[in-house]
């Protein structure tokens, strides 16, 4: 469905500030390009969030110094608050930091006061007027599975392993998307492209990158990844689709590291959800940055 049709149906043009984080713009810009393109198909515009920084990673900087973590995360949320736009993110780590910081500032007035005192140096003030959203929420709630289905011109005929990552759904008390034990939101989005979302052993297991484990102990971190990917291969899965730039890096580049360190080769293509949807909308592999992944795309994912 094109933009005009969307408008005819009474859809209001929505504009978001895109909080990029680190991995998306600095390692996998294909995720950035794909996301902007897919949203534009539905009349959703993306605006730059000028001067944003690292979120900073919730399990890494949150593990070093929670005060610094909250202040930098709050500054990033406030940049969007100042221009009155809701944020979307394409990384569970960014979501973890920004959504949790926003939640804490809305719940605890004394924290808001402290943060604002420090941010006032830069002429910033957190007012709590905006929402921090994960791209999955924008796809599922603002657009919806049916409209995505209607826009598919190049169906994906493949068996996909959904990888939710951790911080999109957990802690559920803060995220508010319901139980993280049996989610379907990503599976539904995958199946909107005509692909089949296949169940596999330990589907909801962590990729292994978070909490500073990847930088501190790469071998241990890769062992998580190896288990997940081997489980997907065992289930006959042809590619994995994720919701998080950091998981994406861990599972794509991680397969090269697994080959080097453990001598095991899996060659499982890794796609971010908007890259999969982008392919089904007729965008080329190159336009979506999929030709630059560490693990090459197989025939079913080449357009």
């Amino acid at each position: 469905m094109g933009y005009d049709e969307f408008r005819r149906e009474g859809g209001k043009m929505k504009e978001y500030a895109y909080f990029l984080g680190c991995i998306t713009p600095n390692r996998y810009p294909g995720i950035e390009a794909s996301t902007i393109k897919v949203l534009k198909r539905f009349g959703i515009e993306t605006r730059d969030l000028n001067g944003a920084s690292c979120c900073p990673a919730p399990g890494v900087f949150g593990s070093f110094d929670l005060n610094t973590w909250l202040l930098i995360a709050a500054r990033n949320v406030t940049l969007a608050d100042m221009i009155g736009l809701d944020i979307y993110v394409t990384c569970n780590g960014c979501y973890g930091s920004l959504q949790e910081a926003d939640h804490l500032l809305k719940e605890r007035p004394e924290l808001k006061e402290w943060v604002n005192e420090i941010l006032s140096d830069e002429g910033l003030e957190y007012k709590g007027r905006i929402k921090v959203k994960h791209i999955i929420e924008v796809l599922y709630e603002d657009i919806g599975v049916d409209k995505i289905k209607d826009a598919v011109v190049s169906p994906i005929n493949a068996k996909i392993g959904a990888h939710y990552g951790c911080h999109f759904l957990k802690p559920s008390l803060v995220r508010g998307h319901g139980s993280p034990e049996k989610p379907t939101i990503l599976d539904e989005l995958i199946e909107a492209t005509c692909a089949e979302s296949i169940d596999y052993k330990d589907k909801l297991m962590c990729c292994g990158a978070g909490g500073g484990l990847r930088s501190r102990d790469l071998n241990t971190s890769l062992e998580f990844t190896r288990q997940k990917i081997a489980n997907m291969k065992d289930a006959g899965i042809e590619a994995s689709v994720d919701t998080c730039a950091f998981c994406h890096l861990q599972m794509d580049r991680g397969q090269i590291e697994i080959k080097e360190k453990f001598g095991e080769e899996y060659n499982l293509p890794i796609l971010f959800i908007t890259q999969l949807i982008g392919l089904s909308f007729g965008f080329s592999t190159k336009e979506l940055g999929l030709d630059k992944h560490s693990i090459p795309m197989t025939e079913k994912f080449i357009r």
Partner: protein, 179 residues
């Protein structure tokens, strides 16, 4: 000062109630059973909570404390609503304060001090960004030096630079033995 009150102080922004929730732990072990790290390392979530309850400071020096990926599975499943993952983060804050911060973690922190990003841009990605029709450099601290200054001000205010051992004269990490 007791171990509990030191952890409460480190975890002030996530709240005293969150930290104190470990006092309700009944040592059932559902956390350890749910832990993906526990499958491949000797990290035992239940044992960490047990040592905290006993006021055992040796937990701060234990490298296993850093094997948690903060996946929150234990936090979600705990029958006593112990906010385990958040507690781990606060305990790690205290461990970092006492000097138990790995060189690789100090390096990650130093990238944010230097560039505003934990994973900064490189030439290969700049080229790819252009090919994809994106700006060569993203509109972040990479493009706005004033924004990077704001990040550095925050870092100086919280003494994060001292925690990490960052030398502003050489713009690199100070030599420090790893505990």
């Amino acid at each position: 000062m007791s171990l509990l009150s030191e952890i409460e102080e480190c975890g002030e922004v996530i709240g005293k109630d969150t930290i104190d929730s470990f006092l309700a732990c009944m040592q059932c072990g559902k956390c350890t059973g749910s832990c993906p790290s526990g499958r491949v390392t000797s990290y035992r979530t239940r044992r960490v909570i047990n040592r905290l309850q006993a006021g055992d400071r040796s937990v701060l020096a234990d490298p296993n404390l850093w094997m948690c990926t903060t996946c929150y599975t234990c936090y979600e499943r705990c029958p006593r609503e112990v906010r385990i993952t958040d507690i781990i983060r606060a305990v790690r804050n205290l461990a970092a304060k006492e000097g138990y911060m790995s060189k690789s973690h100090r390096a990650t922190a130093s990238y944010v001090i230097k560039t505003g990003h934990a994973v900064p841009i490189n030439d290969e990605t700049k080229k790819l960004r252009k090919e994809l029709g994106l700006s060569e450099v993203p509109p972040t601290t990479h493009k706005f030096p004033k924004a990077l200054e704001s990040i550095r001000k925050i870092i100086k205010k919280t003494n994060f630079d001292k925690l990490v051992g960052f030398d502003w004269d050489t713009m690199s990490l100070e030599e420090r033995g790893e505990k």
